[in-house]
Amino acid sequence: MVSEVKTVLELQALTKHYLTHRAVDGISLAVEQGEFFSLLGPSGCGKTTTLRMIAGLETPTSGRIFLSGADVAAKKAYERNVSTVFQNYALFPHLSVAKNVAFGLERRGGFGRAEIAERVDRVLSLVQLGGKQSRMPSELSGGERQRVALARSLVLEPDVLLLDEPLSALDPKLRKQMRVELKSLQRRVGITFLFITHDQEEAMSLSDRIGVMNRGCLEQVGEPAAVYRNPQTRFVAEFLGDVNWIDGVGVRPESITLFRQPAGGASRYVKAVVVRNTCLGNYTNIELQLEGETTCFVQQQGAGTGFAPGDSVYAAWNADDELAVPAEQLASVPA
């Protein structure tokens, strides 16, 4: 069976220049129908500006945006069939939960009062807020507000749901729980999610594909595991996880195994001295000193390592696990 892949959102050389800097610098991207796509990057990389241009809240300097095949350049924010979950939710404080959720439907027109109420009830039970219709936003917990914001956008059945760091305002425990819920919600409703985050763990765990942004440019797009294993730039390699740069080659800490003898079947190894062990519960970080003062980090499963500071060891890894970052990207890597 061949499943038909449909592009729901396409950006062509999208650019936003401000007087003093280039916030977004020629981004091209195609997001498929039903996909969970994350734009990942540090703060100030242009991901929020990109999202706001898609929503129609910012005007691009140049470039084009297509939604379901149609150029939306001439469409105002209120005419575009996208909806945004804002970072601090932006719930209307003077409206009840039900009225917040009904706001978009009422603006569309063509829905009777009974139909609006029914749709609001349905979407609220979808986000597990059934029975909270008459609460005011100020009476809700952070997690509940988050769900109201989601419901308010989902009820419109947008072509693309834009999420601007929606989990960052939650405390860490709740964040992990909402992450799981968000993913299963997206699967159930089948709406395309464009998720903005600076948290690589969040992006990796949620997304079908991620796009890594840096300084207004999209550096790499791909499935999370593929981007993690085959970063095409030094920035991507380092943003998605820790990297040891050993003789111009990138090796992730978890790819390194330590041996007391130069053996063990690994294809590459270097001599090193253990500096310290840091136990983090389910794994332990080992700091090594290589020849030439280079520091190298190794991550091992479990709470103990069997190596003590001062031990001479061999740090070994498979050539397959080396990150294939192009050589010109590594010009600035210390030897």
């Binding site: 809240l57 105002k76 005419e79 945004t84 932006a90 209307f92 003077h94 706001f103 603006r107």
Partner: protein, 275 residues
């Protein structure tokens, strides 16, 4: 700690008693006296003055002050809201706020005389319209209700704009983005989101305009030309020409009671928004 706090409060208490409570007490005392033969006041003590306030001649002045104040307040709101919104969303808000407050640098009296020069029959507006042959005789712009309302709106507009600005400036711009994003056209966003969320500023601005309008004296005196008499003029008149201090005091107190009643109702209904 408590002693220290009392010492710090002392200057404010003294000022309040000397400059506010004492004069009010004197006015209260006068209001229940009888007018003297050659001005001043004396025995016997009576409440007759308060009954006179509700005499139809004076009641009409009350109603007139009331409707002129209400109309002026509403006009200030209609004019001030867009202005405050514009300033709050502008990048040069400090410049615009200073422009709003600029008239305060000149005496209100002088500014009202300036208005008279603009509005009178041989004033700038009428001469321009006449010389352009748009009108054949001068428009009645001065010495009527129109001129008084114009003067009040002009004088008290900043008191509407400033509290509205303070509320609108605090309004989270993300809420406007959200409304826009959810399909609300600009006017709907204004009506459904911005206006309901600035009710506190609207109430504060309306009070700050309505209360001084109700007691206005200078504007109706100069721009109304004695024809448009408001409560402030009635009080002034009793203390000067009519030489009836007790009745003037009674009118002042009734005016004060009316203002306090408005304030009380407003604070009770929208207390948390205002404070």
């Amino acid at each position: 700690m408590n002693t220290l706090r009392r010492w710090f409060l002392a200057p404010a208490s003294v000022i309040t008693i000397l400059l506010f409570l004492a004069p009010t007490a004197i006015v209260c005392a006068y209001s229940v006296l009888t007018r003297g033969a050659y001005g001043g006041a004396g025995q016997p003590v009576t409440v007759e003055n308060f009954f006179r306030v509700f005499d139809p001649i004076y009641a009409e002045i009350f109603w007139r002050s009331l409707w002129i104040s209400v109309v002026s307040t509403l006009l200030c709101l209609v004019l001030g809201f867009p202005l405050a919104l514009f300033i709050a969303r502008s990048k040069r808000r400090m410049l615009f706020l200073n422009l709003v407050m600029l008239p305060f640098w000149t005496s209100f009296l002088i500014r009202l005389y300036a208005w008279m020069f603009l509005l009178r029959d041989t004033g700038l507006i009428n001469s321009l319209l006449l010389s352009a042959h748009i009108i054949s005789r001068p428009l009645p712009l001065l010495f009527n209700d129109f001129a008084v309302i114009l003067g009040l709106v002009y004088g008290y507009l900043p008191f509407m704009v400033l509290p509205l600005y303070a509320t609108l400036e605090k309004l989270d711009p993300a809420l406007i983005d959200a409304a826009n994003d959810l399909g609300a056209k600009p006017f709907v966003t204004l009506w459904k989101v911005i206006v309901p969320l600035s009710r506190g500023g609207v109430a504060a601005g309306c009070l700050l305009v309505f209360i001084p309008c109700l007691g206005a004296y200078l504007t109706p005196d100069l721009l109304g030309g004695g024809k448009t008499v408001m409560l402030g003029n009635l009080v002034q008149n009793q203390f000067t020409t009519a030489r009836d201090w007790p009745f003037g005091s009674a009118v002042s107190l009734v005016l004060m009671a009316a203002v306090l009643a408005v304030l009380f109702l407003a604070v009770r209904r929208k207390g948390e928004d205002l404070l």
